[in-house]
Symmetry: D2
Subunit: 335 residues, 4 copies
Amino acid sequence: MSVPVGIVGFRGYSGAELVRILSRHPGIEPVLLEHRESEDRPRPLGGNGLRRIAYSIENASAAGLAAVLLATPPEASMDLALGLLEAGIKVIDLSGAFRLGTVENYKRWYKEEHTQPELLAEAVYGLPEFCRSRIPSARLISNPGCYPTAANLAIKPLIEAGAIARSCGIVCDAKSGVSGAGRKASLKTSFCEVADNFSAYSILDHRHVPEVLRTSGLDEAEFCFTAQLIPIPRGILETIYFRSSESISSADDLLKIYEKRYSEEPFVRLYSPGQIPDVAAVSYQNFCDLGIKFDPRTRRAVVVSVIDNLVKGAAGQAVQNLNLALGISETTGLL
Amino acid sequence: MSVPVGIVGFRGYSGAELVRILSRHPGIEPVLLEHRESEDRPRPLGGNGLRRIAYSIENASAAGLAAVLLATPPEASMDLALGLLEAGIKVIDLSGAFRLGTVENYKRWYKEEHTQPELLAEAVYGLPEFCRSRIPSARLISNPGCYPTAANLAIKPLIEAGAIARSCGIVCDAKSGVSGAGRKASLKTSFCEVADNFSAYSILDHRHVPEVLRTSGLDEAEFCFTAQLIPIPRGILETIYFRSSESISSADDLLKIYEKRYSEEPFVRLYSPGQIPDVAAVSYQNFCDLGIKFDPRTRRAVVVSVIDNLVKGAAGQAVQNLNLALGISETTGLL
Amino acid sequence: MSVPVGIVGFRGYSGAELVRILSRHPGIEPVLLEHRESEDRPRPLGGNGLRRIAYSIENASAAGLAAVLLATPPEASMDLALGLLEAGIKVIDLSGAFRLGTVENYKRWYKEEHTQPELLAEAVYGLPEFCRSRIPSARLISNPGCYPTAANLAIKPLIEAGAIARSCGIVCDAKSGVSGAGRKASLKTSFCEVADNFSAYSILDHRHVPEVLRTSGLDEAEFCFTAQLIPIPRGILETIYFRSSESISSADDLLKIYEKRYSEEPFVRLYSPGQIPDVAAVSYQNFCDLGIKFDPRTRRAVVVSVIDNLVKGAAGQAVQNLNLALGISETTGLL
Amino acid sequence: MSVPVGIVGFRGYSGAELVRILSRHPGIEPVLLEHRESEDRPRPLGGNGLRRIAYSIENASAAGLAAVLLATPPEASMDLALGLLEAGIKVIDLSGAFRLGTVENYKRWYKEEHTQPELLAEAVYGLPEFCRSRIPSARLISNPGCYPTAANLAIKPLIEAGAIARSCGIVCDAKSGVSGAGRKASLKTSFCEVADNFSAYSILDHRHVPEVLRTSGLDEAEFCFTAQLIPIPRGILETIYFRSSESISSADDLLKIYEKRYSEEPFVRLYSPGQIPDVAAVSYQNFCDLGIKFDPRTRRAVVVSVIDNLVKGAAGQAVQNLNLALGISETTGLL
């Protein structure tokens, strides 16, 4: 008895990942919603066997979709969400359209007017580790950005526990695989520009910064963020630097804070001090892995946080939210 | 006393390689000819110190250019060549515009009319190892394609020596790095589509096939060619399969044919039987390296031919031709 | 109710892939058998939650293992198989130890004496598409090599249908990702030697050749094989060249032969003529995808066959065989 | 009139880069000194035409070597340096053997006793931008480490100018291509472990840290360093975070400090504020490129420093030092 769930933007990298995950989900039937023409990959005769229907509210309703996942750019998401919600279909949006809380914040960071301020106010932020209780009843879930997911899971428990000397600032040096830029023709992400290369972008002004601030409670002066492009298709590693408060005297002290906060969390994994996760540790998986290094002489700490940007950073977390929204066990299809 | 030589298309991969090579050439001053707006890379304050001038026949003449290298698409090359030649400036064209000898051949493989049939007839094919004598006096030199350079250097001496049983056919399985597709925004050559992947294209109908046939003397039924994309920026490896004629009984017999033909050639290198060159052997260099494997029981032979597609397959060979055209020692700036 | 199945060599690439696949298999519990010390990857606290036991026949029996998968080198597989079989435990061996049928053949290609000639004679070759009926009752299943899997699935139906002019020879130009070389410290497969490179090896004398001959029925003079290293972790693409017999006059004629042979096969996928699969089409999946190009003027044909070398070329096919051996539906855990 | 200069360790990545650079140097003849057996790459018949001689003091003297470049591990460099110096041959050592000034410092970071304390005391640190005057008369030049070169060129002018609020600490998040780990068989640097991956190592305790402190004048509490592995063969990018002192109110203020310090330096290039260099900008070149981002509201600054680890981070800088040591113009062979 599978519940049909629609996917808009299934040709993009996050959308294709939704298809990959949901094709193995025992309780959900993914339905491909054709919204815009774009380039399909060559396919075997018979294709992948999934239902494909033209996008319209009528078709979505007729297909009995319990929810629609929007793997679309923010402008498209703003266009599509209202109609679906009015038709009684839950929406999980993977774009940045509904993450920033206020139209002012959206305009500042996305350089455009927000066209759905009421939905922006209504949207529930879908970071289950910190917002789980609000997700089941939400009509519109805003799936977190990839960088903020890795950053907030690393930082927020330490902030809450008072483990960080905030006045010294937190530096988050973030690196992402290229799929984070989306599936499109662009010279900047063409193979010969990216391969054998490594580059920084959006230094100090990335649009994911306000999402970290909003969730973690840090202010701008306390948080310093740089994004960088790794020549790999997928994966994020964030190296997070801070000085600990005086209450911390060892890596184990930090580990204990994480253990207390995450002992029941299925998708956050902790490493022994000295063991550091790498990008490959979470490839194609919905985990966020955390490793710790601490120098007691200087109270300098480094936390390494890794996720697969397409899974815990996008499609996997969206399915986690979808499970919560549909009353399915949270880890279904994700382990 | 450097001779000024113009480069059109210096932002593309072949054009940038011309700049790289000529910047170290003791007898030539590269002059960048701005022809079309496109995206520059970030540059240090002060840039690279080369002269940049807007493209026009007047400017080219005023700058006293001895020659112009066209690293442009075929249509642009057809547009530009005539004016330069009329102004008395030699042209070396790196595109396919002037390689195929006849307008019929051009139309068949490039699917467009040739707009300069007289120049097509006049152009000298710039494969120095086989056409050296005609190059110094040529006004218009057509620089060979990358795949045909590697193929013809491997095949032609064996054809001439009667070492191949042609009726069984020659298979050339060719692989190229991504820069062969040019510097442009394209989904097909975007990082995430190419990385972790390997793909075949233009199977049996690549437009470089007629160039191999024209130089080698093979006919279509005798030569079977597939192009494939390696997820690396640069380099070509061709694996060439044939059955030898009965006159050949060992790899050494084949090696001797090559040694006789190439003993004086500065840019063709031979390997001992059993040693096989790889793409890295010729990276950033103007060599074509050849390795041989032979099975005397079946008379099956395999020749591996490698070049850097941007050097011996494009810019390096163009500089080799430029040296010949300007009366400079052929290897200058290339060793 | 999961059946426990042991894995020896779980730290290697094929072994790790067995763990990945079986961890999601609803009917099997993977049990890690510690056989030799080697390097584990860093692991989260709590690890992956799988049972790990020291390898011994006693432990294997006590654990009630229904079968053991050997992801070990041939010498280790020869050592281990007999004891397991004597204890009544089915064995699926992923090495080349039991593939070649005779000790003479083994010695010629593996340059060592075979130490278990009776097991060699008994072993059933585990290519389900051609040997399915013999697998359920087999005690010892020899899982096919990666290159032969892709080659035989492409070639054998055409041979059987008389579609190939065999006297002209079949050329199989094979390319593999680096995991095919195993997980070990080696300069040849170190990152800086492989990246930005492409190289041919074992030209005309690869030890997978006799496996293709044995299954396809070709003789040595008819089949010409070269292996090459793609700078990617996983995936195989084989470009197969032949001249068709006179009975074939179009790509559709070849497609029909494949359709007839494979219409019921869950893991072979065919493409429309003109559509060519690439390595990414089968990444992390148990499919073999086949694409066809044909030139009616010359009767030259090219078939492109792709698999993931770690899945259909190793662990996935082993699980397919395991399903058959244990009476589980063949596709379980593999779609 | 070329001066012969010996290279020990020419098969490693730094050694091969020395060969590449010196083969084009108009004033120097590279001589390969065979010191230890290890694996050569396949070579064309005729090889690369360079002199190869067995390593011994006698042979080095007989060959009239003006200097020897040691591209060897620290222990080998300690063994070799004394004999060469006693024979009157200048030594430029590319290892860490002679960089740290004191035997205590060496023991702390390299975990071994230093066997040549007098040479350690005598060695001149070869960072020309800050130690140029001492290099021509030095017998033993210690070529800087790759990470410290990129870090000190970025940090030291700002420290000298009082532009950094040191009490807040400087974070240097460093990333390097894999050749930095040397040419050897190792699982950690094997292709499948590195590709599609990104990993941090030596967090807070990398042996290059004391080299940065010694040159920059920072103390341990002020400088926080993490090294990370990029899946590319060569290149370093360091992202350096600090809070500026109150004297700085714009990126231009920082740029002016660099311009003043580096206006005469041939190998340090500055970018306009907002332009950020990437690894490709300096590939195969001896430049260090610096880009700046500054947020005036928070006085947070980020400097991006890039070098090619094998050129300005090793062989190129060694040739720069060699030129200075032999009285050749500093940029010869390096532009």
